[in-house]
């Protein structure tokens, strides 16, 4: 327990000193996970909306599959991406292994099912309320999806946050495809793993606290964004 006190002191010290190495790691964590979240949302939200408003044969199994993919272990995603990006893999010629881009790809694959599955649920509930009115207005499928995405934007922010939370907290995927290379692919979680393996438990814990502060800052920023524009939302 003494180590926790030590860790809190260290964490505060790290934050106050704005240590250059820490700043680099924090920036890369944010860059990788925010990029992955953005790409997962750009791809996943429209897909979630399409699944919410359409009915087609095999839709049930597709939903079951996507919901199951939410539970993908990060290590498995990391391995799959590694096998593709490895020099001996099909995409090896791109030279992406051990780069932040590889980490973004892995985290995008990891969280896209979360974004699709949760946005599908959120938008299907919303569509239940709107469907008859939309049909009366004779809207196209595209117009319906755009309207749902915009009107569901606050719930979808929370969906994006869920995806970001998983991305920024995972270590298995980025460790394998990033390699935890100092000044290149080291992020908060891989740094924590490294310090743990060095037996520097208070420092590892302090980094964990910084990561928590980071996640809270992002959440607060999103909520601030919500509060600032929530005027037109229905409570």
């Amino acid at each position: 327990m003494q180590q926790i006190g030590e860790a809190i002191e260290l964490a505060i010290g790290l934050l106050l000193a704005a240590d250059a190495d820490l700043l680099e790691i924090v920036t890369l964590s944010l860059y990788v996970s925010l990029s992955a979240t953005s790409i997962a949302c750009v791809l996943g939200l429209p897909l979630g909306a399409i699944l919410a408003v359409t009915r087609f044969p095999g839709r049930g199994p597709v939903l079951v599959l996507i919901n199951a993919l939410m539970g993908l272990p990060p290590v498995v995603v990391g391995l799959i991406v590694y096998l593709h990006l490895s020099r001996s893999g099909p995409l090896g010629f791109l030279g992406l292994l051990y780069t932040p881009t590889a980490m973004i790809i892995a985290q995008t694959i990891l969280i896209a099912p979360i974004v699709v599955a949760l946005s599908r649920q959120v938008l299907e509930d919303l569509h239940l309320e709107y469907a008859e009115q939309f049909r009366s207005l004779a809207l196209s499928a595209r117009q319906i999806i755009q309207a749902l995405l915009w009107d569901g934007r606050f719930a979808l922010f929370t969906v994006a946050l869920a995806g970001f939370g998983r991305a920024v907290a995972e270590v298995g995927a980025v460790m394998i495809v990033g390699g935890n290379i100092d000044h290149l692919t080291r992020v908060m979680t891989t740094a924590i793993t490294l310090e743990t393996s060095r037996g520097n438990l208070p420092l590892a814990l302090a980094l964990g606290m910084v990561l928590l502060a980071l996640a809270m800052a992002v959440t607060a920023a999103v909520h601030g964004l919500r509060a600032g524009t929530a005027g037109h939302a229905d409570a």
Binding site: S38, V42, R87, L97, Y98, G179, D182, R198, G199
Partner: protein
């Protein structure tokens, strides 16, 4: 939606250069800060940036076998020689050694403190059924440990999960686990000296020639892997085995102790 697009574009634009060369190496060398000590010196003289991927020896060799990297520096001589023989690496050079030690709690339930005969120590641990944390991850350290058990004639695997605990993790994680369970752990000295979470643990067994731990370095074969930056990679291999590189290895100290002992043939 617009800010998402901007981030998307930013991330595509950010596809980073992979650094100059990639060194596939082990957790034991990286965790003891050896590369933090060596690489700035190398980069200064050569102008080549080195990126280190630190994994177990087994995984490092597999990554190298997949052409993911330019240079391999590990410690499992038979596996290294097999890798070179199969065309994965160009030529293997001895670069340095350190040694393994067995660390344990002050209570010393198997009574092995002070022994310099690793075979006797392992036998006593097995007889006492004292907890022993093994890497269990096919790393260089793990291979060494299994070889030592073989020499004693004791097969600990049937006791796996009982007193023989295979963590399947890196050196640091295995030390954390072993110390948490009050068990013995075989570790390389460098990792132990730099390890932070030692609690009441100390070195119980050391000095047996069998505990010698040789590191080898080799260029990944550019004939098999055309992506290998052979020229720059060879500069690193040459430097590590040169007088300058060997002196740099010898000067890496923690708490007044030397962690690695250079022994490249070319340096002499």
């Amino acid at each position: 939606m617009r800010f998402l697009t901007i981030l998307l574009l930013a991330s595509l634009g950010g596809m980073a250069e992979a650094g100059n060369i990639i060194l596939q190496s082990t957790t034991s060398t990286a965790n003891s800060d050896l590369y933090d000590h060596l690489l700035p010196r190398f980069e200064e003289t050569s102008g080549i940036l080195v990126r280190v991927v630190a994994v177990g020896t087994g995984q490092a060799i597999r990554n190298a076998d997949n052409c993911d990297g330019d240079v391999l520096l590990v410690h499992a001589r038979p596996a290294e020689e097999k890798f070179v023989a199969e065309g994965g690496g160009v030529e293997r050079f001895d670069v340095m050694y350190n040694d393994f030690v067995i660390v344990g709690p002050q209570a010393d339930p198997a009574g092995i403190a002070g022994l310099d005969d690793v075979g006797t120590a392992l036998k006593r641990i097995a007889e006492a059924e004292a907890i022993f944390a093994s890497r269990g991850d096919d790393s260089g350290t793990h291979r060494k440990e299994r070889m030592l058990w073989e020499l004693t004639g004791i097969d600990p695997v049937p006791a796996s999960g009982h007193w023989y605990r295979e963590t399947g993790s890196g050196m640091g994680a295995t030390l954390n686990a072993g110390i948490g369970m009050g068990g013995y752990v075989m570790t390389d000295r460098a990792t132990w000296i730099t390890f932070g979470n030692t609690q009441d643990y100390g070195i119980h067994v050391e000095g047996d020639p069998l505990l010698f731990n040789q590191y080898g370095v080799m260029l990944i074969n550019p004939e098999k892997c055309p992506n290998v930056r052979a020229e720059d990679g060879q500069v690193l291999v040459d430097w590590l085995t040169s007088k300058e590189g060997q002196d740099a290895i010898a000067s890496h100290r923690k708490g007044g102790q030397q962690l690695f002992f250079p022994n490249a043939r070319t340096a002499k």
